[in-house]
């Protein structure tokens, strides 16, 4: 634990904090180097003409994204969102109120793109895009995890994530990129995954896992890589390959496939479900990263594409893969048809691993020993992108019901956290949106406050000792911040970690 980072005290009443202007003005992630920038086709640094580039990009985005245009126009400053952001609740910095975060861009929009702001700048709060304003953007657009909680409460559905993404896209175009995110995007292109794990190392890791599981269960559970002719291509966050507790869920997926007799494979080309192109709002990057999955699917000839436990990856997969890479159904153009005629459209494409597992459980295809999880009292943390930007199953809200149904099927003791902190109103873990980097630890610890309060309540009141979640970022973030709030870091884990504990292999096939 870093000495200078401290968790804020838990609130006794869940009310908004007093305003603390400027409290987080100094919070800034490291800036991307010129090499990292240029690898993605962005200018290497701010330098000459940055303002024209920024405003030019902003004009371009206003013409390309209805959301940006409508949302910059529509806000009435009603304040419904003002106490909804976990970063505001944790820091008290008023610019972390979603409306104020949007206004950082709205003020520039008004000044440069609207009549009112050109004629009466003071009256409508319009500002030129100066270096000071840009620095403020860099600080506060890197204090938004794009979790969309504010958009649930906005009477016009204004989604601050859309504004933040545009802000990052504009800054990248100006030459001011964020190191953590842009470096990782570079790694995906160069090596194939966010962690920079090369193919041979991945093969080694998977072999090791096969031995571990053999030792633990006696079953020959396979972790196949690049196997042509497999039915299922599993695309999962690369953290699943070795990070704790992520790897326990990977073992869980493998056991499920094994028990159900489904032939599956991972791909070294698409060894990453995460798509950080989303975080920087860049359509080109989003698409380039998504196309790797398409290429892997075509190359391996799979019939189904299944996505592992990862929040923003599931958002991109569920909501955007069909658009970006033709992974889905209903495409009539040749590009989409090429893949969609290969996929088995009796299944949802793509499928979430939880959808697959729940379907197997319902059909009685898995043997589960719930008592194996009796040492755990489980609660479920809804991950923001799954909750508010995707779905599972056939009906709205399936993204809440299916993971919970799996947990109830594999564990006896399950407890909900307080209403207003779960389902569509769930709180972000505090590390999403490309903020999962050490230099932002103070922000991350503070941003976790609302979730930690809800967890404290059920931990003290109902002896909860395990918080399940289906997101690699949530798992990494909680592992890091739980100790600041006096919890054990092993308290967080995946839903398929619970499945892994309960599943009995060899009985049914």
């Amino acid at each position: 634990m870093a000495a200078d980072v401290k968790a804020p005290p838990l609130r006794t009443l869940p009310i908004a904090p007093d305003l603390a202007p400027g409290a987080m003005a100094g919070s800034k992630p490291y800036v991307a180097t010129d090499k990292m920038q240029q690898a993605l086709g962005f200018p290497g640094e701010l330098g000459e003409g940055w303002q024209e580039r920024a405003l030019g990009k902003m004009g371009e985005l206003l013409g390309k994204y209805r959301s940006l245009k409508v949302y910059l126009d529509s806000c009435v400053h009603c304040g419904a969102c003002s106490d909804k952001c976990h970063y505001f609740l944790g820091t008290g910095d008023p610019i972390n109120m979603p409306v104020a975060r949007q206004d950082l861009m709205r003020s520039v929009y008004r000044r440069h793109f609207t009549l009112a702001g050109k004629v009466f700048p003071k009256l409508v709060g319009a500002r030129d895009l100066t270096k000071e304003v840009l620095d403020q953007w860099y600080s506060y657009y890197n204090q938004c995890s794009e979790c969309r909680r504010c958009s649930v409460f906005c009477p016009y559905g204004i989604d601050t994530a859309e504004i933040t993404m545009a802000g990052k896209e504009i800054m990248d175009a100006a030459g001011l990129g964020q190191k953590y995110t842009n470096e990782i995007i570079g790694k995906v292109h160069r090596i194939g995954n966010n962690l920079g794990l090369p193919g041979p190392a991945l093969a080694d890791t998977l072999e090791g896992l096969e031995e571990d599981v053999k030792e633990e269960t006696g079953a020959d559970v396979r972790f196949p890589l690049d196997e042509k002719g497999a039915e299922v291509l599993l695309v999962t966050p690369s953290a699943d390959f070795f990070a704790e507790p992520h790897v326990d869920s990977l073992i869980g997926y493998a056991k499920v496939f094994h028990a159900a007799g489904i032939r599956w494979t991972l791909s070294s080309r698409a060894s990453e479900a995460g798509n950080f192109g989303l975080f920087i709002g860049n359509y080109d990057q989003l698409q380039k990263i998504a196309l790797r999955i398409r290429e892997a699917a075509l190359e391996l000839g799979v019939k189904r594409i299944v996505v592992g436990e990862c929040g923003h990856a599931w958002r991109v997969a569920y909501s955007m893969w069909n658009t970006l890479a033709g992974i889905g159904a209903g495409g009539t153009d040749p590009f989409a048809r090429q893949l969609q005629s290969q996929l088995d459209l009796r299944y949802k494409q793509p499928t979430h691993i939880c959808e697959l597992t729940w379907d197997l459980i319902q059909r009685g295809a898995l043997t589960l020993d719930k008592e194996a999880n009796d040492h755990r009292v489980v609660t479920f943390h809804d991950s923001c992108n799954v909750a508010r930007a995707s779905r599972m199953g056939d009906t709205p809200g399936g993204q809440f019901e299916i993971p919970r149904a799996i947990i109830r099927a594999v564990a006896n003791k399950y407890v909900e956290m307080a209403p207003g902190t779960t389902h569509e109103q769930t709180f972000c873990c505090g590390g999403g949106g490309g903020l999962l980097t050490d230099e932002l630890l103070d922000l991350r610890v503070k941003g976790a406050l609302p979730r930690m309060e809800a967890l404290r309540e059920v931990a003290d009141g109902q002896s909860v000792n395990f918080m399940a979640t289906i997101c690699a970022i949530c798992k990494a973030q909680f592992t890091k911040v739980l100790p600041y709030y006096g919890f054990k870091m092993s308290m967080v884990g995946g839903v398929h970690q619970l499945v892994s504990t309960a599943i009995r292999l060899g009985a049914k096939h």
Partner: protein, 244 residues
């Protein structure tokens, strides 16, 4: 024909043109700008009919605001509902004979004026008293509330304090519509009321009042949650498909 008649006649032609062309342009601009990605705030309806219902709940009941803040919802809804009744009541100045339902809402329209003022007062109180909302308020936010309250108050003054010759007012507006100008009666409250309404019409297309058409174009609310079943591609993005 008094000078006031000419001034207000021209003012209302101008204000109407600005409102219609200004909002028309914004709506056209929103409509032609694509939403390239599926971004409904989920859980979202999976059918078009479901989306229509979601929009209806949003526009009639302010569903999201209800989840967000009860006080703001109550004041905001009071104001907007009052405004709706008042606007319906005012249709009698523009139709001859007066439409049946407009006759029906007349008595409610009177009290709706008070409802409007109460709602606006509540919204303003919140803007001043809640530090978070005070922090985000710009001068234009306060002026907009002042403008709306002044419009409502001057209207109520004409109803309850100093009566205006509304028969002539109606003749004036029908005259404007049929390009057969009729004299506008005098009176400070009337002049004030009409000037402020014209001002509201003039600022509408350039201000946050664009939230009214904006909500219909909000992708987080108006998109169907069916990305796996239907391929959704914006025209500018269609050319980017570069797959093998």
């Amino acid at each position: 024909m008094t000078a006031a008649t000419v001034v207000f006649a021209l003012l209302f032609y101008f204000a109407t043109a600005v409102l219609a062309i200004g909002v028309g342009w914004r709506v056209y601009d929103y409509a032609r700008t694509p939403a390239p990605l599926k971004i409904p705030t989920t859980p979202a309806p999976v059918t078009r009919g479901g989306v229509a219902l979601r929009m209806l709940r949003e526009i009639v009941f302010f569903e999201s605001l209800f989840k967000g803040n009860l006080w703001t919802w109550a004041a905001g809804w009071m104001f907007h509902f009052g405004l709706l009744l008042v606007l319906l009541r005012h249709l009698r100045y523009f139709t001859q004979p007066v439409w049946g339902f407009v006759v029906l809402v007349q008595p409610f329209g009177i009290y709706a004026g008070f409802l409007m003022v109460a709602g606006l007062a509540g919204l303003w109180l919140r803007r001043v008293a809640v530090p978070r909302v005070r922090y985000i308020s710009t001068p234009s936010d306060h002026l907009m509330l002042a403008l709306l309250i002044a419009i409502a108050a001057s209207g109520l003054v004409m109803k309850f304090v100093s009566h205006t010759d509304i028969v002539s007012v109606k003749a004036f507006f029908l005259g404007l519509m049929y390009f057969d100008w009729q004299p506008l009666p005098g009176g400070a409250p009337l002049y004030l009321h009409l000037s402020l309404v014209a001002l509201l019409m003039l600022v509408f297309p350039f201000s946050k009042l664009l939230h009214a058409p904006g909500i219909f174009f909000s992708p987080t609310r108006n998109q169907v949650d069916d990305p796996r079943e239907h391929r959704h591609v914006a025209p500018w993005a269609a050319g980017l498909d570069s797959g093998p």
